[in-house]
Amino acid sequence: MPVSLDIDGEVVDVEASQDDLLLWVLRNALRKNGPKYGCGAAQCGACTVLANGIPIRSCVFPLSALADKKIETLDGLRAPDGGVHALQAAFILEQAAQCGYCSAGVIMTAAALLRANPAPSDQRVRQALDGNLCRCGSHNRVVRAVLRAADMMAGR
């Protein structure tokens, strides 16, 4: 039986069961590239998407827990005017990655942070990202990029 989901501003029906996990539905049925498989146990953050603006680990959430929630993935992240989101622009300016595999989860976590706190401190950004693992050692660039995005969004 099709399940109705609100993903990146579109309501879509997917052939899936209620206990299917969101990550696999996003990646395989809906061909989203952003959310990545990393651990399947909510330990690394690579699969992070937003549900009603809150970062969740899509690898452990069954569809049944997501009825009526608005899901946002990196694939749908845009600036209010539809252009490149400030976070994406800032990540390019700061070259804030090495392999980029964790980037999607990091950017979505940061997007939620900046909506709640448009001018976070360096320390607050690090706290928000502590559940996202980066193995390449790009941590400081990522933090700089998030702070830069905050400045860009505030017109600073």
Partner: protein
């Protein structure tokens, strides 16, 4: 070295490392050469490297692959400079065994020295050929022509584009090496920070990774791994799994057990069912992470004196000894290994994030029992790669599954526990150092004995190095691990100190038995060797009542080593350092492989006696990588290597017992978090006219050493076993553990 050196010879010479050094190391940029760079000599056709279409857009072909370090961007920078063509007009074909030049593995911090140099010479020659063609067409001497952004202009204003010139046979010729690359002063891209060409797609949710490829008709495979190393599958009831929804096939070949399903989640559920139904037998060595170092010293070993030196010097007045230990470490890529394979019309096409497509393809062909020409590997980016992880093994898994469903592409995605439990680990090591000092406390005798398991079991064309092949009904035995010879070395990488000690004896004790899988992890033995050497130097400086920086400089004569240490210490503020309570500072230095980039690290650390937790207050890292291609890319690599090394050194230890890796999740194997990453200042020492020196692994060893020295300085007591965990440090600080070694 002959320019006609064959690929086979290169492999025998140790992954081409020796060759890359001898050919590129002596070349001065801006000069021609009678000897082509090694990989250009092996692939001399210019159109194997560069092609230009009718629009004047170029395609760069390289055997090197993107591992997350920005190497393809750097290679395009080099080609763009030599060709006078903008970066955005380049496409790149990378790591396709059918159409890329065979440039060996992408490893060992060799992409710039090897591929960078080859592409530099190839592109310089291509530009010359285009100029020559333009001169004929315009009927003017070549010397009066100028090239800008892919257009050749004559003094009278006539223009002709590369697209007009490059048609037909013009690039179908062999490189001569007689066309000099540009001097540093004429470069527009090399030496300047350029944004990575691969990152925008990764930040915007576009298809950028192997995992994002979804060919038509894709099936999903999962493999059931043994419960411990050496276990044999003695029985499995596959009826339940075979009947589950979506399951296409259960594949069993000896102890290789896998399932193919049309949906990924179904494949995972079927794998779990198969795993429950499988019965295994076997024995594993009774050794664990707690006993590994005693076990290591108890095993038979291949002993080799890799270095000795007997210069005249005063007799030693005092002798110091100390023993240092490193546990098994894991690569821990954030994305578990994955591959897609398709068997179509007798040819296997395998999409992989392997570092070694050219030598993994023949290994897979051997496993499948098919001609090498029937297996094509094409590289696609995966998660960050820090050495020989599961990439080659999962490519073999995918090939085995594709064999059973011809015409259908199969993606095998290792799960997190597969990667944690079965990726080949960086070997545990024990390093015993002994130094004799003269009456001034200067080092006159230096002796090192190190024990390690192998640091490379890469496929190297042999099926027996592929995990799945070892478990088939007709198994391929793992061949003896290849030794990695001088000057790069493997377990003994950087075991020869950079210092001018008069008398030296360095002995490697290589233990070939392994209780868990092992292979190449970023910097191989250098992480532990530099940690040991540089810790010991600090202990000797302390005994001599000398400043650690000044003490190092007393024992060095290489001017670039001295400059790297001096500038790093100066930038850190070493001399004006004011010690706060509970804080310490440390320095570490090495020239990676004793032939690549020079790197020094200074760190300030704070120790909390209550929690045992170390906070790294700040770090400064200085690097001399010769000519720098992309300064921002270099900074990213050096800082990334430093932070990764902090993670290894402070937090990481693979726990295992009886062949079973117990660190099978991120909860069981914690790594550095955002809140734990210190501010890092990178000082780049550029030598624009010097050869490229590899830098991708340069900061691992010095960072570990600087951290160990800063922590010991803060504690007032030396800790010689890694990792520097709160329990270990608290115990050392309270005197509960007697420090190892004698003074």
């Amino acid at each position: 070295m002959s320019p006609m050196l064959s690929r086979r010879n290169l492999l025998q010479a140790g992954s081409g490392i020796v060759v890359g050094l001898s050919l590129s190391g002596g070349q001065v940029v801006g000069q021609t050469t009678d000897r082509l760079p090694a990989y250009l000599a092996n692939n001399p056709r210019l159109d194997a490297w560069l092609r230009i279409d009718a629009n004047g857009d170029a395609t760069l072909f390289t055997g090197k692959v993107e591992l997350g370090q920005g190497v393809l961007t750097a290679l395009v920078q080099i080609a763009a400079d030599e060709l006078d063509l903008p970066i955005e007009r380049f496409g790149v074909v990378s790591g396709d065994t059918r159409i890329s030049p065979d440039e060996g593995p992408t490893a060992g911090s060799l992409s710039m020295p090897e591929s960078g140099t080859a592409i530099q010479f190839a592109a310089a020659e291509v530009r010359h050929i285009l100029l020559d063609a333009a001169a004929r067409r315009l009927n003017v001497p070549m010397s009066v022509l100028r090239t800008t952004d892919g257009v050749v202009t004559s003094p009278d204003g006539r223009k002709i584009t590369y697209g007009d010139l490059a048609g037909g046979e013009v690039l179908r010729r062999e490189a001569t090496g007689r066309r000099a690359p540009k001097p540093a002063a004429s470069r527009r891209h090399v030496g300047h920070s350029v944004q990575r060409i691969d990152l925008p797609a990764k930040f915007q949710g576009e298809p950028a990774f192997l995992q994002d490829e979804r060919p038509e008709g894709l099936l999903h495979g999962r493999v059931v791994r043994p419960p411990f190393a050496g276990a044999r599958l003695v029985g499995v009831s596959d009826s339940q799994a075979a009947g589950m929804p979506g399951v296409v096939k259960v594949v069993r070949d000896g102890s290789f057990l896998a399932v193919i399903a049309s949906d990924e989640r179904q494949a995972m559920l079927a794998r779990d069912a198969l795993e429950r139904a499988a019965r295994w037998e076997g024995e594993a060595p009774e050794v664990s992470h707690e006993t590994i170092h005693e076990w290591l010293k108890s095993r038979p070993s291949d002993d080799s004196r890799i270095f000795s030196k007997t210069d005249p010097a005063p007799a030693a007045e005092r002798v110091h000894e100390a023993t240092y230990r490193r546990p098994f470490l894991m690569h821990g890529s954030i994305g578990p290994s994955a591959a897609i394979a398709l068997l179509d019309a007798g040819e296997y096409v395998i999409t992989t994030h392997s570092q070694t497509v050219f030598s993994t393809a023949p290994a897979i062909a051997q496993m499948l029992g098919v001609p090498v020409a029937s297996v094509r590997l094409r590289h696609a980016p995966g998660s960050g790669c820090y050495g020989h992880n599961g990439a080659d093994d999962v490519a073999a898994d995918a090939a085995l599954l594709a064999r059973s469903v011809p015409g259908r592409p199969v993606r095998v995605q290792w799960e997190r526990r597969d990667e944690h439990a079965w990726e080949p680990l960086g070997s545990a090591m024990q390093i015993e150092l002994r130094a004799g000092v003269d009456r001034n406390g200067d080092i006159v005798d230096w002796r090192c004995d190190l024990w390690s398991m192998p640091h490379s079991t890469r496929p190297g064309g042999e099926a027996g190095n592929l995990f799945a092949a070892q478990t088939l009904a007709q198994p391929f035995a793992a061949p003896p691990a290849r030794a990695i010879p001088a000057p790069s070395y493997g377990p003994d990488r950087n075991a020869i100190p950079a210092y001018d000690f008069s008398r030296q004896e360095i002995t490697t004790h290589l233990v070939r038995d392994t209780p868990v899988r092992v292979s190449a992890l970023r910097s191989l033995g250098a992480h532990a060797n530099v940690f040991a050497i540089e810790s010991f130097i600090d202990e000797l400086a302390l005994a001599a009542a000398a400043d650690p920086v000044a003490y190092r400089l007393r024992h060095l004569s290489d001017p670039r080593a001295i400059e790297t240490i001096r500038r790093t210490a100066q930038s850190f503020g070493w001399d004006g350092f004011v010690r706060a309570p509970g804080r310490g500072r440390g320095i570490g230095f090495a020239r990676y492989k004793n032939l690549a980039a020079y790197c020094a690290v200074c760190m300030e650390a704070e120790f909390s006696a209550d929690s045992g937790v170390v906070t790294i207050v700040r770090a400064t890292v200085g690097v001399d990588a010769g000519a720098v291609v992309n300064p921002d890319g270099l900074r990213n690599q050096i800082e990334g290597g430093l932070l990764q090394s902090i993670s290894w050194t402070l937090k990481e230890e693979v726990r295992f017992a009886s062949g079973r890796v117990l660190s099978d999740s991120w909860a069981a194997y914690p790594i550095l978090k955002f809140s734990e990453a210190p501010p890092v200042d990178v000082v780049v020492i550029d030598h624009p006219d010097a050869p490229f020196l590899g830098a991708g692994e340069a900061s691992q060893g010095p960072a570990a050493a600087a951290l160990g020295n800063a922590v010991s300085d803060a504690l007032g007591v030396r800790v010689r076993s890694l990792p520097l965990t709160p329990d270990r440090l608290r115990a050392a600080a309270s005197g509960a553990i007697a420090p190892r070694g004698k003074h």
